[in-house]
């Protein structure tokens, strides 16, 4: 039943659409209640294929629309809206200029080279889209799979021509119906580190795959692999539940509702094999680059827990003390706690405590064994001799948690009388008014932390194909060695210029060390102006370098 006026003039802002003929409507009618219910059921069953056939009394005054779809495929944007004129509005960038992203909190105040806050991105941005159109609705146009293909371009490598037995086209895992059912994820089954299990995944375990139905209609998915399957079952998001079998005589098959997200666990029949000469290849990074790992990682404003989620951790409390013995030796009493969240194995490891020479400590080393879920707390008795040199020292409580893996907490001890007395203040300063706090820091100096960090590079200007370094001088004013972690931070679009953004750094007690971070501009890089800064983290302290201009010249 057509509307009283064309839909284009009825469908306007603030429209009152309550009238029976305000917009076109489909009327479902029956002579009595039973017939009406039968008509509704018939229409509902027709909807299963997305189209309902109805008789139109009189298309006037409305106009029939063409069965045609236009889509804009994007790389991902903050938002969009279509207005009543049919115009499509796209928001391209979104930046927060208020608290907390628009202000800087850790002294000294940092800003981008043009003086703006770090969420403002005052440079040229390229946006790429694909405009697609064709007959039929979004399903016939495969918009879901075409969108995914646009935003996930195929990874291409140039390889030499070579012989071999493998076919020109090969698929280790394939799903049908192609495009209508999407393979979203493939991984080894299980998440041992999330549950505190000590046994790592091995490649012989079953695979978890996640499928999504992309057309909105029920489909039957089949999975294929040259390895063959020995079994498969449906599971849940956590991959642990074993539901019904999806396997029958070598075929893995599952029914999907429209838009269903399904998790399957597959048992491959064979193993990929591969070249035994290569041995077990570790893909990616499997342990923290900077060792030892500081156990109070949150103080480094570093985001998630270290790799492996620290199932066994060590802490010392308090973390900072002033040793004020005066003419006599100062006694410092702290408490060490080691806790295990492993669920299936005892933890056994060695705890060692490193103190400055001439100081005495009990314990200096202690073997630890903990039952699953166990913990222990014991005192750390430290004696700082009366002739201890004034300054900042670090007592390092280190727990070996695996081959090459050390987790540590650090007790900072200040012997007053040096320039670093403010590193362990006697009391907290006055509370800063809320309105002032909201403005962020205005300080031009960093806090007294015992490690002075000078940026030796004022600007990096490189042509495509050229390489340079971002250099720093680290001056350790403390009486103990410092081991920390650095991370180079730069905006999206520059990440492939910094091949190794994370590394460890070490500076011996009372000495200086230079740190250089390689910056290499790919040959195919586009010219532009960005910035790069480095965040230094050690023993619960953080220092951000200035943001150094990073300029890629045109060739």
């Amino acid at each position: 039943m057509p509307g009283a006026e064309p839909i284009e003039s009825a469908w306007v802002p603030q429209a009152d659409l309550r009238g029976a003929r305000a917009i076109p409507a489909v009327l479902v009618a029956g002579a009595d209640e039973g017939e009406l219910h039968a008509e509704i059921a018939r229409m509902a069953s027709e909807l299963a294929d997305g189209a309902v056939t109805v008789t139109c009394i009189d298309p006037e005054p409305g106009t029939l629309l063409d069965d045609y779809t236009v889509g804009l495929l994007t790389y991902g944007i903050p938002g969009f809206a279509v207005d009543t004129s049919g115009a499509l509005h796209l928001s391209l960038l979104r930046s927060c200029t208020g608290w907390p992203s628009g202000v800087w909190l850790d002294p000294p105040r940092r800003q981008t080279p043009d003086g703006s806050a770090f969420q403002l991105q005052h440079w040229t941005h390229d946006f790429s889209y694909s405009l697609v159109a064709g007959a039929g609705d979004w399903r016939r146009q495969d918009l879901v799979s075409r969108g995914l293909e646009h935003s996930t371009p195929m990874l291409v490598r140039v390889a030499d021509q070579h012989g071999g037995e493998l076919p020109a086209t090969h698929s280790l895992l394939a799903v049908t119906p192609e495009r209508e059912v999407q393979l979203q994820a493939v991984k080894l089954n299980g998440n041992p580190s999330a549950a505190g299990e000590s046994v790592p995944l091995d490649a012989d375990r079953s695979l978890t795959v996640r499928l999504t139905e992309a057309t909105g209609f029920a489909r039957t998915a089949q999975l294929f692999s040259p390895l063959g399957f020995a079994g498969a079952h449906r599971s849940d998001l956590l991959e642990s539940d074993v539901r019904t079998s999806a396997y029958d005589a070598g075929v893995v098959e599952t029914d999907l509702e429209g838009a269903q997200i399904a998790t399957l666990v597959l048992e491959p029949e064979g193993t990929p094999g591969g070249d035994p000469a290569l041995g077990a290849v570790v893909l990616g990074v499997d342990r923290e680059i900077a060792q030892p790992v500081y156990s109070r990682y949150w103080l480094h404003n570093r985001g998630p827990a270290p790799m492996g989620f620290l199932p066994v951790s060590v802490s010392v409390s308090p973390t900072a003390v002033r040793a004020e013995g005066g003419a006599v030796a100062a006694q410092v009493v702290a408490e060490v706690t080691v806790a295990s969240q492993l669920v299936d194995a005892d933890f056994i490891g060695m705890l060692t405590i490193a103190v400055p020479s001439g100081w005495s400590c009990e314990p200096v080393q202690r073997p630890i064994q903990l039952a699953p879920g166990g913990h222990t707390t014991f005192p750390l008795d430290l004696v700082v001799p009366e002739d201890a040199q004034p300054g900042l020292s670090f007592v390092r409580v280190q727990l070996s948690t695996g081959p090459g893996d050390v987790t540590e907490d650090v007790l900072t001890v200040l012997v007053p009388g040096s320039d670093l007395d403010d590193a362990v203040p006697t009391r907290t300063g006055p509370e800063i008014a809320h309105e002032v706090q909201l403005q962020g820091t205005t300080s031009e100096r960093s806090r007294v932390q015992g490690l002075e960090i000078d940026c030796l590079t004022t600007q990096l200007e490189l042509a495509p194909g050229e390489a340079g370094v971002l250099a720093f001088r680290l001056d350790n004013q403390a009486l103990s060695d410092v081991d920390g972690e650095l991370m180079a931070i730069s905006p999206w679009g520059t990440w492939d210029l910094v091949a190794e953004p994370i590394s460890g750094f070490s500076v011996s007690a009372g000495s200086s060390a230079d740190v250089a971070i390689p910056i290499a501009v790919p040959v195919a890089a586009e010219p532009g102006e960005w910035w790069v800064m480095v965040k230094f983290m050690w023993f619960g302290r953080v220092h951000y370098s200035p943001a150094v201009p990073l300029v890629v010249r045109s060739r």
Partner: protein
């Protein structure tokens, strides 16, 4: 709780009704004046702001809670004995309004204790005996990968119950006497050599009764009491009531 007009409505002077009795606005103003002249005054929200109106509502509900408990205490002739201050966990379990009432008015704790007496500490067979003393060992220790250990390399390890040491080392030390050298003993870490330097028997800490069940029952009772016997005047709704205009979540 409703904010509909009450038969005794005197909007300007009454903030609510407890068991049908009007609660005077003067009482609330007095409370707020005490708060605003107290040591924490600097931390209170400025007058005229949304937060100040929320503080006003919060204080009103502390007052209501006290009056509800006072009425019950009067009816049941419960004596106002000073209640023990709440520990941090119990205060969080009760919520800020009830916790503030507990600390401001002895009747609140007295009603809780009388209506919901603490369950006796579980009569577990073990607790019938006096607290068991734990044996602590002060140990010196050294570790080498190959068992080639020198007694001179022993270093103090501090006090331990032995429960956190490698099982083999703990088993060897458990029966050792003071000054006795134990080892070399193997563990996954290597070879251990150890000596007990001192032994102490320390009593275990006394059991603390769990307040959780008692406070839960009290909270449920208080909720029932509020539903049945409290009505509030417009403007004095609970600060967390989503229907009142000042309870908005903003960034």
């Amino acid at each position: 709780m409703t904010s509909d007009a009450h038969p005794l409505a005197e909007p300007a002077r009454v903030i609510g009704w407890v068991d049908g009795q009007p609660v005077s606005l003067d009482l609330l103003e007095l409370r707020l004046a005490v708060l605003r002249s107290g040591p924490g005054a600097a931390a209170l929200p400025r007058e005229g702001t949304q937060e100040a109106r929320q503080l006003r509502r919060w204080t009103a509900h502390v007052l209501f809670t006290e009056l509800l408990c006072l009425a019950t205490a009067g009816r049941l002739a419960i004596a106002d004995s000073a209640a023990a201050p709440l520990d941090a966990l119990s205060a969080v379990q009760l919520g800020s309004i009830t916790a503030a009432a507990w600390h401001g008015c002895p009747a609140v704790g007295a009603v809780c204790r009388t209506l919901f007496p603490a369950a006796p500490v579980a009569a577990h067979p073990a607790s019938a005996r006096p607290p068991v003393a734990r044996r602590w060992f002060r140990v010196s220790h050294s570790l080498t990968p190959d068992g080639d250990v020198l007694v001179g390399s022993l270093q103090p390890m501090g006090w331990t119950t032995l429960d956190d040491l490698p099982t083999s080392v703990a088993d060897a030390l458990r029966d050792a006497s003071r000054g006795e050298l134990v080892g070399p003993v193997a563990s996954p870490l290597g070879w251990h050599l150890a000596r007990v330097d001192d032994i102490q028997d320390r009593s275990a800490p006394a059991l603390v009764p769990d307040l959780g069940d008692q406070l839960r029952e009290f909270t449920l009772w208080l909720e029932r009491r509020r539903t049945e016997s409290l009505s509030v005047a417009a403007g004095f709704e609970h600060p967390g009531d989503p229907r009142q205009p000042d309870n908005s979540h903003r960034h």
